[in-house]
Each structure stands twice: as C-alpha cells, then as structure tokens.
Symmetry: C2
C-alpha cells in the first residue's frame, strides 16, 4: 500500500489567514517527504471553507515541487470544466517538468452547485464536458498537431508546449463519488480512480472497485499498484481518549463546513448527479462514532489505526491512502504529530506487503 | 532603479527539453535573489518557441516563491482572456499568500492571432474582455460578496478565497505595447505599466511614458517608484568582442522565433490591434547593430552596459528594468555569467540613485 497526505483545507480568514495556511501546508508537505510518505495531494474548490483556500491545486503543487525531490504530486482533483483544456494541459505539463515527472493528474467533475453557477455552467452538461476535456488534455499531452473538434471546444492543429516530462503523459486518475459506471469507464480507459469511502457504504465501494478492476484488466491495462486512491480524515495520538475526543472534534468541524458547501443541493436536482441529494442527507446526519465503527475515519492510537487499515485492506485490497491531517483545522503541531506517529508506527506495517 | 530577470523562453523540445529548461530557470531565479536582483518575471504564451514553454506564469512563479524569500514575483503578463477571472484571481491570491506578499500582477491583452484562434476568441473583443477581467479580478481581491454583471461574465455574490496577502490587492501592472491611450488609462487607474521599448522608437516610448505619468499624477495616485517596467535582452561579457558576437546571435535567434509566432499577422487585421502589422514588419527587418546603437538591447561589457543604462535613465527616468538573459537560448553558464557581471559591476551604479 502507498500513503500520502491530502491537503483539504476547511478554513476561512476568520479561522486562519491564508499566509499562515500556505506556510504550514508547505512545511507539512516537506515533512511528508522526509517521513517517507509517497504523495502530496490537494483539491480544487471555491468560495467556501470547504476547500476554498485551494482554487488551483497546480499552484500549490508547483510550490511543493520546488521544495521536494522525491514525493509524488497528485491533483485530487482538478476540475476541467473550470479551465480551458489548452490552459489546463499546459500548466500541468509545466508542473510535470518542474517536478521531473512526479505528477499524477486526478480529474474531477465537481459537484457543488454554487461553483457551477459562478462559472455559468450547467450541471447537466458536467459529464460530457468532463469526458471531452479529459480526452483533450490526454491528446494534447500525447500527440503533436492536435486537431480538436468537440462539443465544447474546437482548436488546432496545435502542439502543446511544454511537452510533458512523462511520456506519453502523467498517470490520469478519475474522481468517482458514487457512480459505478464512472468506475467502469475509468477502468476501461486505463485510468486510476479517486474514491471517497467516507460517503458510501462499504459494500457500495466494493462494488465500484470490482467493476473498476474488472474493466481495467479486461481492457488489458498493466496494473501499476497505485491506481486506486482513497482519502480518510486522520488523527493520531498515543492517548486513545485524546485521539477520539480530538479526532471527533475535527471530523465534526470538517463535516460542518461540508454541510455549508452542499447546502444548495437542498433546492437543486441535476440529471448528471442522480443520488447526490442523498449524500447531502448523509453528511448532515453523519455521526462520528458510527463513522469510526465503520472505518471511515483513521482516528485512534497508532495500534488502533494499524488495525483499521488491515480491515480496509481486507475490504478494498492494495489501495493508496491519502490522509487528511489538516481538515477540521487542528493545530499545526497536532498535524505534525499525526504524521510522525503514522510514519513511525503505522507505515512500517504496510510497507512489506507491497 | 530596480532590476530583475524576465524569463522569456524561446526554446522548443528540439532545443532544450522542458525538464532542463525549468531546472535551469529555477536555479537562475534563486541566483537572482542571491545576487540582489529585485524581481523575477515570466510570460504567458502558447504553442510557439516564442514563450510557449510558459503557458501559465503562476505555475512557474509558485515554484520560484517556494525557493526564495525576498525577491518580488511579477507576471509579465497573465492573459485574462484565456482564464476565467474567478480562476485567475484565485490562483494569483494563492501565489500572493505562498510568497507572503511578493506578487505584482501584470495583465496583458495578448497579440498572437494563433493564441486567440485556439481559445476561440475574437481579437476584436480583446480590449473590452481585458478591461472587464482586470476589473473583476481587482474587485474579487478587494471586496467581499462581489456581484459581477459584465458583458462576458456574470457571477455572485461570491467572496473569493483565499483573500490576497496584500491589501487591498497586489500591485497591478498593465502591458501596453504601442497604444498611448492604454498608458493613459493605466495611469488614471493607478496601475503600473509593462513596456517593451525594443519594438518602438524612443520618442514613442517617451510619449507613452509622459501620458502615463501625467494621468497617474493627476488622478492623485501615490508614486511607488517601481511603476514602469521595461524588458531588455541582455548579454554581458568582459570581452567586448565576445559580448557583441554572442549577444547578436542570441538577439537574432530571439527575433527569429518571434517572426514565426507573429506570422499569422500577415493575413490578419483587427480593429483592436491597429498598427500591429507594422510591428511585425519591424521585427522581420530588425537589425542587431541598429538595435544596439538605439539602446534596445543591453549587450556589451559591464562598463558599456552601465553607459547604456545611464542613457536609458536619461530618456525614460527611474524605471524598473527586466533583463532577458535566457532568450535566444544561450548556454546556462552564459546566463549565469551575465547575471553575475551585472550584479557585480552594473547594479552598484544604479542603487544609490533611488
Ligand atoms: Ca526536504
Ligand atoms: Ca503498491
Ligand atoms: Ca480541541
Ligand atoms: Ca536562495
Ligand atoms: Ca526606485
Ligand atoms: Ca555561439
């Protein structure tokens, strides 16, 4: 299994000035490399405390690339609907070169109605926009003299500069929240998968994984071992009581900023997002103790978290885990402690099984 | 006077792999800080060797921000027509925070027909698009709950996250190639100015500067001393003959990639770009020895370049100079030497006059 840190900010100016946020996040990213984690990841969101400090994951990851030498950089995810593919493919190719080939590109459809509204885009078009943009980026990276005649973009012949460092292009990952057919498509296309196990039942995640892996294998793609990424809120302490109390507080805070961000789903339905109103409902009713019992958060002592991860591996197989150690706005020193305890007492149990 | 380095790449994959380009550029950016330069700047261009390795200046400057502590970071320029203002303002605000307030944002209209074609934008709309996007970014940075109802964008109320580090926002600079009224407008608005003295006669540049400074003063804006930026190709050697021979070679190469990039102007006219066909003509006919005689390139021994800069200061006053030390694709060591000679033997002559 591989492990990394997912920078999912849940703060606004009244919680933490952005200068402090980025200073701390860059220090934690350097620490992640020093502690032997495999990747640094960050999100794309706008306007809300829920991810809003990170409207452009490439900008943050470029800074991380300049401060590190080994660790992989993962967008989790970029939203192609909000950036022209010529621009998106170009800046990702820059990042791939700046990092000397450490980039993996997660693409997402986005799901917050307020974001689509601000960019004047219809959520109903989200699926075809996503498919077209992802494919356009892939061709711009892999081919020269690209002529693109799609439903949303027409350009070419153009040859993207710079050419990506990785040939034909960086690994592509597809964010799939709850839609099994998206997983199947990603598998057929040979892309990786970004999953959020906390918002679905275990059986649902397993169903999505089975479809994905079957389609991936049937299409003849080579397994890389790090195709499937899953993010978990994570809080560790050697004191079990403290771990649970603080882990609960930060999980609840994370949840409460998510409730604000998804509020618009109360008055919105979109054919491209069937079932999303249920997610919203589930988030509003989320209960920390149940989440903990269902292994949807990695909270506890190191020994406890080792057990949780063994169970997760039994359920889902050899997946890549992204730890959310800043969500809920813990003190910087608490995030450092969680990462150190994980590196020292949890990671070693999962390194040899690779 | 202030001095910095403008990273204007003129290479493609057959000249230099992009991994090498960014590795060298980041090392030169660190060196710029260590040698006492005031800023690092880079361009936004696509597809051609003329700037095409830099489709997103923010990505490169974020990496520079992570490797430096003091030096200012300047976009020279971002093209708002190619990025939604919510996205553009957001990532620039991230960079301002990552760099702890070292950002200055140059905005440009772009002028290459192939770039507008690829983004499916009419050049005729370039001026109103530019004005609307710049103003939208400025309001998104300075205000909360922004409602925008423009000709090209409608959104809000939204509060941009993250808030910029500098309040109300980073200094804004406006790229003005040949249009005096753009300079006047920039002055009225209290913005800085990015000028390219190599493409105009000295008297034309002086006319633009006079209009700018008059409008700036009459509108009651505080002079900061670093409002006016000018870029110059620069090559130094202690051997005058070598400096001229190599400086000429690199200037001619720079010119030849520019000729390729502007070729589409041969069959294009746009009401927003009156007179641009003449620039193209001028570039095609450019003669290095005449450019040198007219102080449009900073080439020579350090003593010679000191004299050239004294003349430039007499002509244009206390401006900020951006040295193009990689354009034309000199060897890395030659760029290093130019920067060292400039820092040691040229800079000291212009520090005390501030
Ligand atoms: Ca390190
Ligand atoms: Ca593995
Ligand atoms: Ca507490
Ligand atoms: Ca340094
Ligand atoms: Ca000054
Ligand atoms: Ca030579």
């Amino acid at each position: 299994m591989e492990f990394g840190i997912n920078f999912f900010p849940t703060v606004g100016p009244d919680d933490k000035p952005a200068g402090t946020y980025f200073d701390e996040a860059l220090r934690l990213a350097e620490l992640a490399e020093d502690l032997g984690f495999d990747h640094v990841k960050t999100v794309e969101h706008y306007f809300f405390k829920y991810g809003g400090y990170s409207p452009d994951p490439v900008t943050f990851l470029a800074a991380v690339a300049a401060r590190t030498r080994r660790i992989k950089l993962v967008t989790g995810a970029v939203i192609p609907a909000f950036t022209h593919p010529l621009k998106l493919a170009g800046k990702l190719a820059m990042l791939d070169n700046i990092s000397k080939g450490r980039l993996q590109v997660g693409f997402g459809r986005a799901f917050l109605p307020d974001e689509f509204d601000a960019f004047e885009l219809s959520m109903d078009e989200s699926r075809p926009r996503f498919a077209e943009s992802l494919r356009a980026c892939q061709r711009l990276w892999a081919e020269e003299n690209v002529v693109w005649e799609g439903d949303f973009y027409r350009f070419g012949p153009v040859t993207l500069l710079p050419r990506p460092y990785q040939r034909p292009h960086p690994r592509i990952l597809v964010a799939a929240a709850i839609t099994p057919s998206s997983c199947e498509q990603a598998g057929r296309d040979g892309h990786g998968l970004l999953l959020v196990p906390s918002i679905s039942k275990r059986e649902k995640v397993q169903e999505m994984l089975t479809l994905y892996r079957k389609a991936y294998a049937e299409a003849g793609h080579e397994p890389g071992g790090d195709e499937v990424h899953m993010s978990y809120n994570c809080y560790l302490s050697e004191d079990a009581g403290e771990a649970h109390a603080q882990g609960k507080e930060y999980s609840q805070r994370t949840n409460s900023v998510m409730v604000d961000a998804v509020a618009a789903w109360g008055q919105r339905r979109s054919e491209g997002y069937e079932g999303y109103e249920k997610i919203v409902d589930r988030i509003a009713k989320a209960d920390f103790d149940r989440s903990l019992a269902e292994n949807k958060v990695l909270v506890g002592t190191p020994a406890e978290v080792v057990e949780r991860l063994r169970t997760i591996r039994e359920w889902f197989g050899d997946v890549t885990i992204s730890l959310q150690v800043i969500s809920g706005n813990p003190a910087f020193e608490e995030s450092v402690r969680t990462m150190r305890l994980f590196s020292e007492q949890v990671l070693p149990h999962f390194r040899d099984q690779d």
